[in-house]
């Protein structure tokens, strides 16, 4: 072997966190390598579909001129609350969503991620694909000094490694930043189909005036059989991303097949007309870390930092993740730049990464929703009982039965009381508020 392959920084994983970190460091003048196991950046990545642009604008102010491969701007969004045979739809549409660039776009990751990685490469980062990082290299004092890959003579050295490996946090564990695997109670399994539909059909069905409009729908209730979790329907350029996610533990406990839960959702009487004639072009599944603030890994160790899904940076309530990843990646990159300037790669120095993140929405939101996962698990009635109740109440409210309205109101209240006591409802609302206020 001739000499060591050495860089100023190594990034593991070319997802949003890794690329944002690499881009930041390359622009700061560091010699950076991104190692990606897929055949291209994004080959292994999958998400529901809504991407928020604010974080991207932060690392790449001129991103719009660089023509990112977005699907559709999100100009209408909201919730569908499904009972087995009906739905309450609360959607928000506004003229103010109609601007360019928009605040949110639907995105397909196998199209977006390669573009984002290209921007880092254009800034000087070296992108190596088809290469799996097998382990971290450490010195005799346990400091991370590089990585080993599955390539022959595949060791690569750098004083700082940024782990952006995604939800399967094998290296994060190896770095000693987290003690163990995520328990199935704190990780969601989501399955999704991309269904092809002519843009024209799509626009008619969703009431869109053209390709500059798009819809993002989060679905509760019957979609997950009343269990904690959500479904989603997002419009792409000429197709629909439709999926459903639940805590992995629910699939295990109830012995459910995720693709059958999704199929049931697709057959729901309210959903089915939207998909008519569509062809399934791709099916996929991914885990989503939902361990929350209190179970996040340590974000930095000697010579190493972690960002994105690997660090549990997901806000499930607001379907955010890629924006958290990009902001965190950027800050990890900035910290690496500062570390090079100071010549100090110790955990103590790199811990400023976390301090800086605490000043941003990333850790503040995660902290606020720290009780969310536990709350949903302990209060399953939110997904089942309440959603069904609302639907049945709506049915009575909107139908004239020749019954005096006073009686109708009594009926609705009686229905509520039968399924959940008033103190129960009050208690649930209190718990919900607590989970949301942090």
């Amino acid at each position: 072997m001739t000499g060591r392959l050495t860089f100023d920084a190594i990034v593991v994983g070319a997802g949003p966190a890794g690329v944002a970190a690499a881009l930041t460091m390359a622009r700061g003048g560091l010699n950076v390598i991104i190692i990606e196991r897929g055949r291209f950046a994004g080959a292994k990545n999958l998400f529901g579909g809504v991407f928020y642009t604010h974080a991207l604008a932060d690392v790449l102010p001129d991103y719009w001129e660089r023509k990112p491969p977005f699907e559709r701007p999100v100009t209408e969004q909201g919730y569908w609350m499904l009972s087995p045979d009906s739905a309450i739809r609360v959607m928000h549409k506004s003229e103010r969503y109609l601007k360019e660039p928009a605040d949110a776009y639907t995105v397909l990751r196998a199209r977006f991620d390669p573009w984002f990685a290209e921007q880092a490469a254009a800034a000087g980062a070296l992108l190596i694909t088809r290469t799996t990082v097998t382990q971290l290299l450490k010195d005799e004092r346990g400091r991370v000094i590089g990585v080993d890959t599955d390539r022959p003579e595949g060791k690569v050295y750098a004083p700082v490694v940024i782990i952006a490996e995604g939800v399967n946090n094998l290296l994060t564990q190896q770095a000693g930043l987290i003690a163990s695997d995520l328990p199935p109670k704190y990780v969601a399994l989501a399955v999704k189909e991309y269904i092809n539909l002519p843009a024209k059909d799509l626009q008619i069905r969703f009431g869109l005036s053209g390709p500059r409009e798009g819809v993002a729908i989060d679905v509760f209730g019957d979609v997950t059989l009343g269990l904690p979790g959500t479904g989603f329907i997002y419009t792409d350029q000429s197709g629909i991303s439709i999926g459903v996610g639940m805590l992995l533990d629910e699939f295990v406990t109830h012995r459910l097949r995720p693709y059958e839960v999704l199929e049931r959702f697709k057959h729901h009487p309210v959903v089915r007309p939207y998909l008519e004639g569509g062809e399934v072009r791709e099916y996929g599944a991914h885990l989503i870390p939902e361990m929350g603030y209190d179970r996040m890994p340590k974000l930095a160790g000697d010579g190493v930092m972690v960002a994105g899904d690997a660090a549990g940076m997901v806000d499930a309530l607001h379907r955010e993740g890629t924006n958290l990843a990009i902001t965190a990646g950027k800050m990890a990159g900035e910290t690496a730049l500062a570390a090079h300037q100071a010549g100090d790669f110790s955990a103590a120095f790199l811990s400023r990464y976390r301090r800086n993140l605490e000043g941003t929405f990333v850790l503040q939101d995660m902290k606020q929703y720290r009780r969310m996962t536990d709350f949903l698990e302990s209060s399953p009635q939110f997904m089942g009982t309440y959603v069904n109740l609302l639907n049945e109440a709506a049915l009575r409210y909107f139908t004239a039965h020749g019954i005096p309205k006073r009686t109708m109101e009594h009926d609705i209240l009686k229905m509520v009381r039968e399924r959940r006591s008033f103190t129960g409802v009050a208690w649930d609302m209190l718990k919900l508020m607590r989970a949301m206020r942090g």
Binding site: R37, G38, R39, F40, G42, A43, K44, N45, L46, F47, L108, R109, A110, R111, T129, R130, T131, T132, T149, D150, R151, V167, N168, L170, D181, L182, P183, P184, V187, L189, V191, Y194, L225, G226, L227, G239, L248, D249, F251, V252, T253, H254, R255, L256, R257, P258, Y259, E260, V261, E263, R264, H267, V280, R281, E282, Y283, G284, A285, H286, L287
Partner: protein
């Protein structure tokens, strides 16, 4: 870790799920199968044999796990979409799961 044991699985009441032929879904996926190297292995087949609910037969989104007619656990790693569920959800931690070698495994076209 997981303190779940055998027999604690419970069906969701009153729900009939439609049958899905998983092969119809998998067929639209692009794979670069590593023929020489299985990235998923069962650590101890006896543990699977003794596992009663065998939740992996259900939760695995690509139906990688299947039992043969003698009830022996088989792993069709070629269909794996690398979500990692089996790695963390096997109640006995009996799945040895690694990342496929670089460039191998699933490659999403849409993602």
């Amino acid at each position: 870790m997981s303190n779940r044991t055998n027999g604690q699985t419970a069906p969701v009441a009153d729900v009939q799920l439609p049958h899905v032929n998983i092969d119809d879904l998998i067929v639209c996926l692009k794979y670069y199968v590593d023929e020489e190297n299985a990235h998923i292995r069962i650590k101890d087949l006896a543990i699977c044999a003794a596992c009663d609910p065998k939740p992996c037969l259900a939760f695995c989104p690509a139906h990688v796990f299947e039992t043969d007619r003698h009830g022996r656990m088989m792993v069709g790693y070629q269909a794996c979409i690398e979500c990692g569920s089996c790695r963390v959800a096997c109640p006995f931690r009996n799945v040895d799961w690694r990342l496929p070698r670089g460039g191998h495994g699933v490659a999403y076209k849409y993602g």
